[in-house]
Amino acid sequence: MAEKPDVLQGTLALMVLKTLDLLGSQHGWGIARRIEQISGDLLAVNQGTLYPLLLKLEHEGSIASQWGISENNRKARFYRLTAAGRKQLQAETRDWEQTAAIIARFFNVKAEDLA
């Protein structure tokens, strides 16, 4: 089995927020699985990073959590995006797109463009 790269520090928060934005309320395993699926199973989510991150986001007020019953009838903790989290997601998305656009321009630049 090939080693899958871990998710980059910092980007995981963005992925979690986006996933919750898409799916509404979701439990930890669900979030991890979705991220892996969306990445086309190219990424592996480290549980040692995921759960502290969820706690951190909750402390920061971006997400909230409560106990609930999962689709296959198990007690599970569900996370959902708060209003503050939604705002944060928008801001971070903007930032990310801007950064990505800048990097893209660097990749596309050719020698004659600078002449």
Partner: protein
């Protein structure tokens, strides 16, 4: 914001001990179950699905730790854990903890005590708003060597109009007789310009002060009184304002009462205790007409315009002086070089004490250093016992920084507990301790042991704890794992480094205590020399009691205006005093003539003109005057050398006569060949203080020996004595020699004086021996304090060397046992151990002597009669230190000598 929110939630979690463990465990179980479901859906068997899920999941414990770190603040949590552990360690070794805490309590307590004095006096000398704006103005004539000659009223107006100052004020300190209330009292009072309180920037508690722009030429008949006087003499009468008081028989109206917290500014404790202020324009009766050359030798203080620094003000003042000199060339002859000099008021108030206080602060700082070194030494000693603990911790994966942090927490706890207990002792003993502070110390009443001082104590303890805890922590945590574990904590590698540091610390301690002891020794010798000095007069069995005669503003109402009028009173009181049982001899003088008494600081120097001297070209020298009765010389045992003393026939109307001391004879009649000419028969003129019309010639009739009546440190101050029956004095001291009881004499003399005049106050009865000893109070205080610190330092250093040698003996017990087993003499072992102690002492003494040499030169100004290189002190102190070092090494040396080789070797 987000960051803060997260921080506070985590902090709250730490504080409430809330844990998310259970929640995480549930979440993990659930996560695991989901993963197994998913794996089974992918077609795995249950066992395989479980295995794969576990692999994917990773180390559960690591996840738990990360999660926990996020839930709380690991730094704070570790600190709390360390603290809890440190408390437990403290508890486990109560002896060690007690010694360490007591040592630090001593060091920090002493430092904090001195700091509280320094804080009140040096750091906050002026209890007034914007103290930086307050300055003292001094007029000098450097060309003729005259200093602080005072200012005249036209000059005062020039200063006021210069635009440099907000307000300028003259003030003249004296005493007045307050009569009409209960017992007549002599109260400390000040005649000031109406702007005085505007200069200080203090408002009264009741009523008002004067209009700072009041231009009344003479006395304004309104006075302001202190809170203390209001309570004492007027029973805190709420309707005091507008009431009349009689001062020296003049009637004034009270217009204001100052707040209880108000203290006047001034050079002496007496002046700072002023209780009544009267405003005067100093330009009409009783002052002479305002002439530019009529200078008052009064204090001039001023408040600078906001934002003007004293330096800038001095520059503008110099410009003013230059233009005045051009305008009035006759009043300011160029060769006199008349000039104003500004000094920040704060600097002029604590001047004499600054050096003593800095010395004390330095001394106590050394004690603190030594105490800290001692505790560091104790910590190091414990480090060797804890080598195994550290090794085990490291073997279990504790990082070195983590160990250092834990050890540092332990030492900080010791230091801070020590500091807090030192402060607590100080706080509860403050009343007791303040008794030892000499009363002449400025702002004595403002010394407070409050929050600021507590903060200082804690900051000092934390700083000392960090500084002196770091090295032991560093060394303790640095060890060779395998070796230490194998050797059961007796690691040789780390311990060598430890013992080197211990040696350095002990040498430092010894050196510091040597410095302190030399300082104390030199101060002690100075004090002793002053104490044993040949006084030149005999103070034993003499009591001085003061009274003061009213000095009304209108001389016509003064019943003691002439010497003849006053003589009636004086002779009658003297006659009555002689009838008091036990009194053998009596005399009377003005207050300035009390040897080493309060009058020393008063303006008593007057210009001396000698017959035949050309006065146009130079300013006459100033000489201290005393006004005395004929018996004064005999009562005080002042020996006549040449000519005669005063006799009863010298009265008002007969030629004015004077007696001088040898120093005056030497200085003013040196003769042409320098051998001295006989001053007896020479004539002088003594210019009055206020420069009244030309006084009559006074003939010198006798020369007496030099005596230390002015200053214990200086016998050679020129003095001139005038006859009290020729020149009346207002502030009077009666002397009684004989077997009298100082406790009752005051009442007895009061009865006698008040039988003659019931309105005269009688106060301050003191034996001359007491006056003498209180004149030494500041020196005694600093000497005693430094000596106390030196003894403490010596004790601590002795403890330090004892600890180090004991430790060495412990370390070397194996080696010593082998030596003994191989037949070494026990005496040789004793010598070997003692040699180690001695070599430490020698190194410490070497370093210490160097430091002491530097310090003794820095404090040369505080010494009297002893050179800063005094051989006796240096060798004596070195000897004492060596003796203590040997004595401290002796106990462990004996223990080494008595070692049982068999048992020691078996134990290994």
């Amino acid at each position: 914001m987000k960051f803060l929110r997260r921080f506070f939630i985590r902090l709250a979690n730490v504080a409430t001990g809330r844990r998310a463990d259970q929640r995480l465990r549930d979440e993990m179980t659930e996560h695991f179950a989901f993963q197994i479901d998913e794996n089974m859906r992918a077609g795995m068997s249950l066992t395989e699905a479980r295995r794969q899920a576990a692999i994917k999941f990773g180390a559960a414990q690591a996840i738990r730790e990360h999660h926990h770190a996020e839930q709380s603040l690991p730094f704070v949590e570790n600190l709390l854990l360390d603290l809890r552990f440190a408390f437990r360690m403290l508890y486990r070794a109560p002896g060690f903890s007690l010694i360490a805490i007591a040592t630090m309590a001593l060091g920090v307590g002493a430092t904090t005590a001195i700091y509280s004095v320094v804080d009140a006096t040096l750091l906050h000398p002026l209890p007034y708003p914007h103290p930086g704006e307050l300055v003292r103005i001094e007029a000098n004539l450097p060309g003729v060597g005259a200093h602080d000659i005072g200012v005249s009223i036209p000059e005062l107006r020039d200063l006021q109009n210069s635009g440099i100052f907000q307000y300028v004020s003259l003030s003249f300190f004296g005493t007045n007789n307050l009569t009409g209330s209960t017992q007549p009292a002599s109260i400390a009072s000040k005649s000031v310009s109406p702007s005085y309180f505007a200069v200080l920037g203090v408002d009264p508690e009741l009523g008002r002060t004067w209009d700072p722009h009041d231009t009344t030429p003479g006395f304004i008949t309104e006075v302001v009184i202190s809170d203390g006087l209001w309570k004492r003499a007027f029973g805190a009468d709420p309707r005091i304002l507008g009431k009349s008081v009689r001062l020296d028989n003049d009637v004034y109206r009270v217009v204001g009462v100052m707040p209880a917290s108000f203290r006047d500014q001034g050079q002496t404790a007496e002046e700072r205790g002023t209780e009544l202020w009267a405003a005067c324009g100093f330009a009409a009766d009783p002052a002479p007409p305002p002439m530019r050359s009529t200078r008052f030798p009064f204090d001039t203080i001023a408040r600078l315009q906001p934002g003007v620094s004293p330096e800038v003000a001095q520059g503008r003042l110099n410009a003013l002086v230059a233009s005045l000199k051009k305008q009035y060339p006759v009043d300011y002859p160029p060769q006199a070089e008349w000039a104003f000099h500004l000094t920040p008021l704060a600097d002029t108030l604590v001047g004499n004490f600054r050096q003593s206080l800095i010395l004390l602060f330095g001394a106590v700082g050394l004690v603190l250093l030594i105490a800290s070194v001692n505790v560091a030494n104790l910590l190091l000693a414990r480090a060797s016992a804890r080598g195994r603990e550290m090794a085990v911790r490291q073997a279990l994966g504790a990082a070195r920084m983590r160990l250092i942090r834990q050890l540092l927490t332990e030492s900080l706890l010791l230091f801070v507990l020590g500091g807090i207990s030192g402060f607590a002792v100080l706080f509860f003993a403050r009343k007791f301790l303040l008794q030892f502070v000499p009363e002449s110390l400025p702002r004595l009443n403002d010394i407070s042991i409050g929050w600021g001082v507590l903060a200082f104590a804690i900051v000092v303890s934390v700083a000392a704890g960090t500084t002196f805890g770091l090295a032991p922590a560093w060394i303790t945590s640095r060890l060779n794992l395998t070796e230490t574990l194998r050797q059961e904590g007796r690691g040789s590698n780390g311990s060598r480094r430890r013992s080197r540091l211990r040696n350095v610390l002990v040498i430092g301690e010894l050196a510091l205590s040597l410095v302190l002891m030399v300082a104390a020794g030199l101060l002690l010798r100075s004090f002793w020399d002053l104490f044993k000095v040949q006084l030149g007069f005999n103070p034993t069995r003499v009591v001085a009691i003061e009274t003061s005669l009213p000095n009304p503003n209108d001389p016509k109402t003064d019943i003691y205006h002439t010497a003849t009028q006053e003589a009636v009173l004086l002779r009658e009181v003297l006659r009555r005093n002689r009838t008091i049982p036990g009194v053998e001899e009596t005399a009377v003088s003005d207050r300035a003539a009390i040897p080493l008494g309060y009058g020393q600081s008063e303006h008593r120097a007057v210009p001396l003109l000698r017959e035949g001297q050309n006065m146009q070209r130079s300013q006459p020298p100033l000489i201290d005057t005393s006004i005395v009765s004929p018996e004064y010389f005999h009562v005080l045992g002042l020996t006549l050398l040449r000519g005669r003393l005063f006799v009863d026939q010298d009265v008002e109307g007969t030629p004015l006569i004077a007696v001088i001391n040898q120093a005056a004879a030497r200085m003013y009649w040196p003769g042409k060949d320098g051998k001295g000419e006989d001053p007896v028969g020479k004539r002088v003129r003594l210019l009055g203080r206020l420069g009244r019309a030309r006084p009559d010639w006074t003939t010198i009739v006798g020369v007496i020996v030099d005596a230390r009546t002015e200053s214990l440190a200086d016998a050679g101050i020129p003095q001139i004595y005038l006859d009290i029956y020729q020149r009346p004095a207002k502030f009077i001291a009666f002397y009684l020699r004989g077997q009298v009881d100082p406790a009752n004499i005051s009442a007895q003399v009061r009865t006698q004086i008040q039988t003659v005049n019931a309105e005269l106050p009688v106060f301050r009865a003191e034996t001359l021996d007491d006056v003498l000893s209180s004149s030494l109070s500041v020196r005694r205080f600093s000497m005693e304090m430094v000596a106390l610190f030196a003894v403490t330092a010596l004790l601590l250093a002795g403890l330090g060397i004892y600890g180090t040698i004991s430790f060495l003996v412990n370390e070397q017990s194996h080696e010593i046992a082998i030596r003994l087993a191989l037949g070494a003499q026990r005496a040789t072992i004793l010598k070997m151990v003692l040699r180690q102690g001695l070599s430490l002492a020698a190194a410490g003494a070497g370093v210490g002597l160097l430091g002491a040499f530097i310090v003794s030169h820095l404090m040369a100004g505080l010494l009297y009669g002893v050179s800063p290189n005094d051989l006796l002190t240096f060798t004596g102190v070195t000897l004492v230190l060596t003796t203590v070092a040997i004595a401290a090494s002796y106990i462990p040396a004996i223990r080494a000598m008595r070692l049982d080789p068999i048992r020691t070797l078996h134990a290994d």
